[in-house]
Every structure is written in C-alpha cells, then in structure tokens.
Amino acid sequence: MAFVEIDGLVKRYGSLSIFEGFDLHMENADRLVLIGPSGCGKSTLLRCMMGLEDIAGGTIRLGGDDYIQGATDGRMTLDRRVQKEVGMVFQHYTLFPHLSVLGNLCLAPVRSRGVKKSEARDKAMGLLERFGLAERANFYPSQLSGGQKQRVAIARALMLDPKLMLFDEVTSALDPELVVEVENTMMELAEGGMPMMIVTHDMHFARSIATKVVFQERGKVIEAAAPDDLFGNPQQERTRDFLRNVLHIEG
C-alpha cells in the first residue's frame, strides 16, 4: 500500500479529456515532482487531489483510506478530510488581502478546526520565525513581496499540520530574484521530511528537491524515475525531446 494512490483517474472538461484512467502512486518518504508540457494535466492532477475538481472516475487514496471517488454523473464522493490533511499552495492570489499575515495563518485553524486563538497565534509566530517572517506578522499581503507572499502561503498551509503538501507552480508568477527564497523554504520543508508533490517548470529545482520525477504528457505518465536517472539518462524518446527543449530554452 502506497501513501498516495491514484487509480484510474478520469477527468474531463466538457468534451475535453484530461485524464482517461491515470495511475500514480507515491510513497510516504517521497517528494514527487511532476514535469511535462503545458496543458498535460499536472496542475489539474493536484487540483483533483485536493477535491477542487469534479472527477468522472477513479479513486484517490491517502494512507490507505478512500478520499475521493469519481462518478460520471458529477456526484463524486469527497471525504472532506482530504482538505484537512493535505495542504496546497497555488500560483496566484493565494493570500486573503483583507487579513494580515497572522490573520491569514490563523483563519483556518480558528474558524474551521476550533483551535484557540492564542494557541493558533503562538503556532503562527513559531512558523513565521522559522521562515524569517516574524517581523512581517502584522503586515497586509499588499505590503509583501511576491516571494514573501508565497512563503506566508506555505506557512498558512503548514498551520494545519498536513500529511502531504501540494505545490502548484508556486514560483511561476514570481520575479526571478524572488524564486530562490521560496525554493529555499521548500527545501527546508523537504529536509524536515514533509512528503510533497510539486508541479514546476524549473528543472534545476526539480532535480535538487525531488526523490522521484514524473514526466507526464497528454494525461499519461511517460516516465517516472529518480531525478538523476530521469534527467541524466531518460529512457523514453519523448522525455528526451521534452528535456532537450526546456533545458535549451533555459540555457
């Protein structure tokens, strides 16, 4: 039994089919990085796992429990525990602009978990200190840089003690000089042993953080391997083409 088990996932947008029976397993100790051309369903996969998309078929299991089961009539079964046990960070507009940094961190624990305000606050301050953001606690998102916003968003997800973290192109919208601070924060989490699934276009980062890289194209896993193998010695022609293209563009 793997930690994350996605079996037979079917996802369609109207007549557009993203997945027709997609399988992916992930172990507890893994940091899985998803790469592949735009539109191949990497982000959609994370969104499906979080229960943000209706899936037409398949099962998503976490720690052996069924969390999401697709149904063709649009009435998928969703165990809302998934949203309590999995944390997710998005590309854009992740922070609530009407709340301070501290307010953003404490919202979910206090309002949806019934954690005491003072407890949530202490925990939030601890996380902010760890990320070097303590002096920003009372700032509003509009007063933060893009990199700081994303780090706060990571801290906010960690407030709920997730068993798994999903990162959906979290550095894609950032200015290049701000990317590193966010990637460092993710590296620090990785070193702490947090299981992660990461969608990124940054191949160097993918190589350094991943325990396993999955190359995905047109809704299928083409190749999955340890980063050194996948980047150093890709087995599939399509993987080689893709890497040649992106690494060439990246220079």
Binding site: M50, R80, L95, F96, H98, L99, L107, A108, S112, Y140
Partner: protein, 223 residues
C-alpha cells in the same frame, strides 16, 4: 428683490428641526441595516445557478431600480395595509420601503464586488478546509464589503436624502418639520434653506470620506 430676512422663527423652530433630523437619521440607519444585510443575501442568491432563485430576485432588483422611490414609498403606505390587512406605522413603512430600495441597489454593488474577487480565493479557502459558509463569512463577505464600501456608502447617504420623501406620508422627519415651520410662519426661504443646509452638512463630509476610503481600499486589495 425686496425681501427682508427674518431668522427668528428658524431659531425658534430649530430644536424641532433637530428632532426631525434625528428621526431622519433613525430612518437612514434602519434602512441601511436592511440594505446592507438583505443586499448581501440577495447578491449571494443572484450568483446561484438555480433559476428559481435568480428570477424572483432579478424581478425584485429591477422593480426597485426602475420605479421612483416616491411611488414605492406611497405604494407601501397605501397598498400594503389593504393587500395584507396589516397596520404598521408610517415610520415602519418608510423604513421598509427605503430599506428594500437600498437593498436592491446594494445587491448590485455587492454582486459586482463578489465577481471581482479572484476565483483562486475560493480554491485557496477550500484547500484550507473551510466549508461554504465559512468561506462566505470569512473570505467572500469581508472582501466584498471592502470592495463595495465606497458604493455602499454612496447608496446609504443617497437614502438619507431620499428619506425626505417620507414627509409625504406624514412621518415627522427633517423635511416634514421644515415644511411645517415654513408654512406656519410664512418663512420658506429661511426655513427651507436651513433644512437644505442641514442635509448638506450631513451628506457632504460623508461623500468626501468616500474618496478617501476608495483610495485606501484600492491599496489594501491590490494584489
């Protein structure tokens, strides 16, 4: 013009005008309470996908936006008692008509604001495990309020001015008192000018504040 100003009666009647002003403010307050709460609920309903909810709400909004406030007020005052066999005070009818009118306008302001909130916030709050009510209360409502605040205040102060219409159904508001004093004393210029200035004195600072608030909310919600 050979007119001699005489402010004696205005001075004498001033406490009466202030009393009228208090009633006007009270009507404004309650109409705004209805307008702010009901307006939000209507806006949420308007965003629903269920046509049986959207159509009646659309009819309500368009009715109140496309008929004069005066006819709404008079209609409530004269027709509701006959249709429903209820006898409510003129003040209550005034508040009800003004409140429903304001709610219709506020609903549109809220709706525009809600639609301006990035959809990603819904995803982010869902991913944090907030249920639909927690999302509405803690994520959507506060942002919609902040975004639409300038329009809500403008609408609210508009109702303060529109409330002068209740004088026509014998609610003893500022307008009513002013008209009363001016006809009793034959001093319309002094009295009605004073009344106008009182309305102005309340409205003007508020409308100035709106500009300031607008600047601040834009800065806060800049992404």
């Amino acid at each position: 013009m050979n007119y001699e100003f005489d402010w004696f009666y205005v001075k004498k009647g001033f406490p009466q005008l202030i009393e009228g002003l208090w009633l006007t403010l009270e009507l404004t307050l309650w109409a705004n309470v209805i307008g702010l709460v009901l307006g939000f609920l209507v806006a949420i309903g308007m965003l629903s996908k269920i046509k049986a909810i959207v159509w009646p709400l659309t009819a309500y909004i368009e009715f109140f936006r496309c008929t004069p406030a005066l006819i709404q007020l008079v209609w409530f005052f004269f027709c509701i008692p006959i249709l429903f066999n209820v006898w409510w005070s003129a003040e209550f009818m005034g508040i009800l008509a003004l409140g429903l009118n304001l709610a219709a306008f506020n609903a549109e302001a809220y709706r525009a604001a809600i639609q301006a909130i990035p959809h990603a916030h819904t995803d982010a709050s869902t991913a944090l495990g907030l249920n639909v009510f927690q999302r509405i209360i803690h994520v959507i409502l506060p942002q919609a309020l902040i975004l639409s605040l300038p329009v809500l205040i403008t609408n609210g102060i508009g109702i303060f001015q529109q409330s002068a219409l209740v004088a026509l159904i014998s609610v003893e508001d500022l307008m009513y008192q002013g008209r009363y004093i001016s006809t009793q004393t034959f001093r319309p210029i002094e009295t009605l000018t004073t009344v106008a200035l009182i309305y102005f004195a309340v409205s003007f600072p508020v409308s100035q504040a709106v500009t300031l608030i607008e600047r601040r909310t834009k800065r806060l919600l800049a992404n």
